[in-house]
C-alpha cells in the first residue's frame, strides 16, 4: 500500500522525535534530569522570614534540639540568594508543610506540635525504589523537597554538627589552633 503524504509526514515526525530522544538518552542528559530532582529555574532573592522560620523548624524536627539551627538556615538563605530556583522551592516547601499541618488540624507548620512536625518532614525523607519512582512520576516537588531540603539538612549535619556530636572540637572548615592541636589540647 503506498504511503500517503500525511502518513509519511507523521512517520517522519515520530522518527525524528524518537531519534532526538535516543540522542538525549545517549548523551545522558534526559536520564539524570528525570532522576535528579533538579531545581526548576526561577529568580534568586532573599528569603522571607516566614519561610526561614519554617526551614528552622524543619531542621529542629529532623535533628532535634541538640543542634543550633542557625547555620542551616544561613545555608538556605545563602542558596535562596545565589542559586536559581532555590527560593521558589523553599516557598513551595513552606506552603506544602503548612498545608500538611492544617490538614492535621494545626494552624500551620511552625506552631504545630513537634511530633506532627516530625511526621510531616519524615514523609519527605529521600526515598528509594518504587517510592522514589512514584515521586518522580506524580510528585516531582516532593522529590525536590527530599533532595534540596531534607537531604540538604543531613548533608550539612554530616559536614558540621555530626563531627562535634561525635567528640571533635570543631568541624572541618573552621579555623583551629595548630600548636594546641599538636599538644593534644582542644583546638576550637
Amino acid at each position: 500500500m503506498p504511503f500517503s503524504r500525511r502518513r509519511f509526514l507523521t512517520g517522519s515526525a515520530f522518527a525524528l522525535v524518537a531519534a532526538a530522544g535516543a540522542a538525549a538518552w545517549k548523551r545522558s542528559t534526559l536520564l539524570p534530569w528525570l532522576f535528579s530532582g533538579a531545581l526548576a529555574d526561577a529568580p534568586r532573592g532573599p528569603l522571607a522570614d516566614s519561610t526561614a522560620d519554617v526551614l528552622r523548624a524543619t531542621v529542629l524536627a529532623l535533628l532535634d534540639a541538640r543542634v543550633e539551627p542557625g547555620h542551616y538556615v544561613d545555608c538556605f538563605r545563602w542558596r535562596a540568594r545565589h542559586v536559581r530556583g532555590a527560593r521558589a522551592l523553599y516557598e513551595r516547601f513552606e506552603r506544602h508543610v503548612d498545608g500538611a499541618a492544617r490538614a492535621a488540624g494545626s494552624p500551620g507548620f511552625r506552631s504545630a506540635p513537634p511530633a506532627l512536625q516530625r511526621r510531616i518532614v519524615a514523609a519527605l525523607a529521600p526515598a528509594r525504589g518504587w517510592a522514589r519512582a512514584r515521586r518522580i512520576a506524580f510528585a516531582r516537588d516532593e522529590a525536590r523537597f527530599a533532595r534540596h531540603v531534607v537531604r540538604e539538612v543531613f548533608v550539612r549535619f554530616a559536614a558540621t554538627d555530626a563531627w562535634v556530636l561525635s567528640g571533635y572540637d570543631a568541624w572541618p572548615g573552621m579555623p583551629r589552633a595548630i600548636v594546641r592541636a599538636a599538644k593534644g589540647e582542644p583546638v576550637a
Binding site: 529532623l62 545563602w78 543531613f154 555530626a162 583551629r176 592541636a181
Partner: protein
C-alpha cells in the same frame, strides 16, 4: 632573534610560574586559559563549597570543552578530573611539595626501567630551591633520613605532626617504618603576602592563600602591567610560518566562537599533559604533517600516571583524624626500595582524614539516629595512601579522539592499561599497607583493587625531554626540538613518572629554569 611577546597556553602551575618569571624579566605575556575566571584568594569558592556545600556551575567550563575520552583499565573518567579554570589544578591541589631523589633521574641505568632523565638532580637542585621559595614550602629534612640533599633550607619551618599522625608514627616506628614530616606549600608562618595557615583543614579549597595557589603569582604577573590574561579562550592550534617557526596561536573566545590569531615571538604550551599533547597534535603544518614536535612520533606516547591507592583502617582508639588540617606526615622509606626495577617505589601518604565513605553515609541518612550511627565510626578510622611510581609502555598514550569539541577539533583520547610492572608495584604497595594496618592494630581495613587507583592530576610524559631529538619532544628547557619559537613546559616534560613523589615541585622548578633560559635568550 629577540623575543619580546610571549603567548602562554594554560594558566596552571607552570603557566602562571612562567608568566610571573617572564614578566619580571620584562617580557610581554599573554596567557590563554580555556576555563573561566577563578578569583583569588579563593574565599568565595570556600564559602560556596565548604560552608554551603554548593558547586557553582559558573565556575566550571562547558562540558564539550572539558570533554575527553579514555579507555583501557583506568577506571575513572579523566574528563572529570581535569581542573579547567584560571590557575588550573594549581588552585585545587593539596600542596604536597616533595623532591625527586637523585636516583629517580636514573631509573634506566640504576634499575633497568624507563629512561634516564637528560637532567640530573644536581643540575636541577638550584631551581628546586627557587621553586620551594616561590611556593613557600614549610618543611624540614631533619626527621627524614631519605630526603635528597639540598643546598638551601626550606623557606618555612615544618608543621607539627597531628595527634593522630603522631599516634600512628609511634606504632609504625615500633614495626620498623619511619614516619616523618611532609613538606607542604602551606604557610607555617606569614610568607610573602600570604597569611599563616589557620588550619581550616580544607587545603584543596584554601580560603586565604595559606596553601599556595598558582593564581598568587599570576596576579603578581598581572600587576606588572605586562601580563594579559584571556579566560574562556580556547587555543585551537599553534600558528607557524612558512619556515616552520611558531608565530602565534589561533584561538576562539568560548562565547562567540570566532577564530582570531594572536601573534607572538614565542609560544609556550603549558597545559596539563593531555591538553598540551593534543594541541601539538592539532597544530599540523606542511613541515610538521603529524603535529608539532612529533617528527619522531613521541608526542603523547610516553604517558604515565602516578598510581595512588587510598585505603583506610579502623582502630579501637579514637583517633579523631581530620581534627587538625590535614597533611603533616608521610614516609619516604620505600620510594627507593631494594626491589626497585622489578616493581616501583612507593611513598606512604598519611592524609589525616577519616574515611569519607562514613561521612557520606551520614549525609545519606534519613534520620538523626541513622546519621549518628553512621558517624560513630568516623573518629576511629583514618586514610592511608600508597603513592606509587609507574613505567611507560606502548599501552599508555594520548591521541586524538573521534569525538570533537564545539569548534570541530578532536578532543584528547587517552588509552591507559596497567602493566606487569604496575601489577608488581600494586602487590608491593598492598604489602606495605598491610604492614601499616598490622602495626596500627587495625581491626578493619580497606585497600582498593589494582585498578582502583587515582592519578589525581599526576599525568606526565606526553612531551618528554631528551637531549637527542630522536628520543623526545623537547630539550631540558622545554624548547620543542623540531619547531623554533615553540616551547612545551609542564609535567608532560617528565621522563617517566619521576619516582613515587608528588611531581608539582619538580614541574615548577623546570618552569623556572626554562623561564630563566627564555629571558636570557630575550636579553641576547
Amino acid at each position: 632573534m629577540s623575543a619580546r611577546r610571549v603567548a602562554i597556553v594554560g594558566s596552571g602551575m607552570m603557566g602562571s610560574t612562567l608568566a610571573y618569571e617572564l614578566t619580571r624579566a620584562g617580557l610581554e605575556v599573554t596567557v590563554f586559559e580555556k576555563g573561566p575566571d577563578f578569583p583569588y584568594p579563593h574565599r568565595e569558592r570556600f564559602v560556596e563549597t565548604v560552608e554551603y556545600g554548593y558547586d557553582d556551575p559558573a565556575r566550571s567550563i562547558a562540558p564539550d570543552l572539558r570533554r575527553m575520552t579514555n579507555d583501557g583499565s583506568y577506571a575513572r573518567e579523566l574528563q572529570r578530573e581535569s581542573v579547567l579554570r584560571l590557575g588550573g589544578a594549581g588552585t585545587a591541589w593539596t600542596g604536597l611539595a616533595t623532591r625527586m631523589s637523585p636516583n629517580d633521574h636514573l631509573t634506566k641505568s640504576r634499575y633497568g626501567f624507563g629512561m634516564d632523565w637528560p637532567l640530573s638532580y644536581a643540575e636541577l637542585e638550584p631551581w628546586l630551591c627557587r621553586a620551594e621559595a616561590q611556593l613557600g614550602v614549610s618543611g624540614t629534612d631533619a626527621d627524614n633520613p631519605w630526603a635528597p640533599w639540598r643546598s638551601r633550607p626550606y623557606p618555612l619551618p615544618p608543621f607539627e605532626l597531628t595527634p593522630d599522625d603522631a599516634w600512628l608514627a609511634a606504632r609504625l616506628e615500633a614495626a620498623g617504618i619511619r614516619v616523618h614530616s611532609t613538606p607542604q606549600a602551606r604557610t607555617r608562618a606569614a610568607y610573602e603576602g600570604r597569611p599563616a595557615c589557620m588550619n581550616v583543614g580544607e587545603c584543596q579549597v584554601c580560603p586565604n592563600g595559606a596553601r599556595y595557589s598558582s593564581t598568587h603569582h599570576l596576579r603578581l604577573a598581572m600587576a606588572t602591567g605586562r601580563c594579559r590574561v584571556r579566560t574562556d579562550a580556547t587555543v585551537r592550534r599553534v600558528v607557524t610560518d612558512a619556515t616552520g617557526r611558531a608565530r602565534g596561536v589561533a584561538w576562539c573566545a568560548n562565547g562567540d566562537g570566532r577564530e582570531r590569531e594572536h601573534a607572538a615571538d614565542l609560544v609556550i604550551v603549558a597545559g596539563a599533559a593531555f591538553e598540551s599533547a593534543r594541541l601539538l597534535l592539532l597544530s599540523r603544518d606542511a613541515k610538521h604533517p603529524d603535529g608539532l614536535g612529533n617528527t619522531h612520533g613521541h608526542v603523547g606516547r610516553h604517558l604515565v600516571f602516578h598510581h595512588i591507592w587510598i585505603g583506610h583502617l579502623h582502630v579501637h582508639d579514637a583517633l579523631f583524624a581530620g581534627r587538625v588540617g590535614f597533611w603533616t606526615a608521610q614516609s619516604d622509606q620505600f620510594v627507593d626500595p631494594p626491589g626497585r626495577g622489578k616493581h616501583g617505589g612507593v611513598k606512604i601518604e598519611l592524609p589525616s582524614k577519616p574515611s569519607l565513605t562514613h561521612v557520606r553515609d551520614a549525609a545519606n541518612a534519613g534520620s538523626l539516629a541513622d546519621a549518628l550511627r553512621a558517624f560513630e565510626v568516623v573518629k576511629h578510622c583514618r586514610q592511608v595512601g600508597m603513592h606509587a611510581e609507574s613505567d611507560t609502555t606502548g599501552a599508555k598514550f594520548v591521541a586524538l579522539s573521534k569525538d570533537k569539541d564545539r569548534y570541530g577539533d578532536p578532543v584528547a583520547h587517552v588509552h591507559y592499561d596497567s602493566s606487569d610492572f604496575d601489577r608488581a608495584t600494586y602487590a608491593y604497595a598492598r604489602t606495605l599497607f598491610d604492614r601499616v594496618a598490622d602495626a596500627a592494630g587495625a581491626h578493619e581495613r580497606f585497600f582498593p583493587e589494582l585498578e582502583g587507583f587515582g592519578a589525581f592530576a599526576h599525568y606526565m610524559g606526553t612531551h618528554r625531554m631528551s637531549r637527542d631529538p630522536k628520543d623526545g619532544v623537547v630539550d631540558t628547557f622545554g624548547a620543542v626540538h623540531d619547531t623554533p619559537g615553540l616551547y612545551a613546559i609542564g609535567l608532560g616534560m617528565f621522563v617517566g613518572s619521576g619516582g613515587a613523589v608528588t611531581p608539582t615541585l619538580t614541574g615548577v622548578a623546570l618552569a623556572i629554569r626554562a623561564a630563566d633560559a627564555i629571558a636570557r635568550g630575550a636579553r641576547a
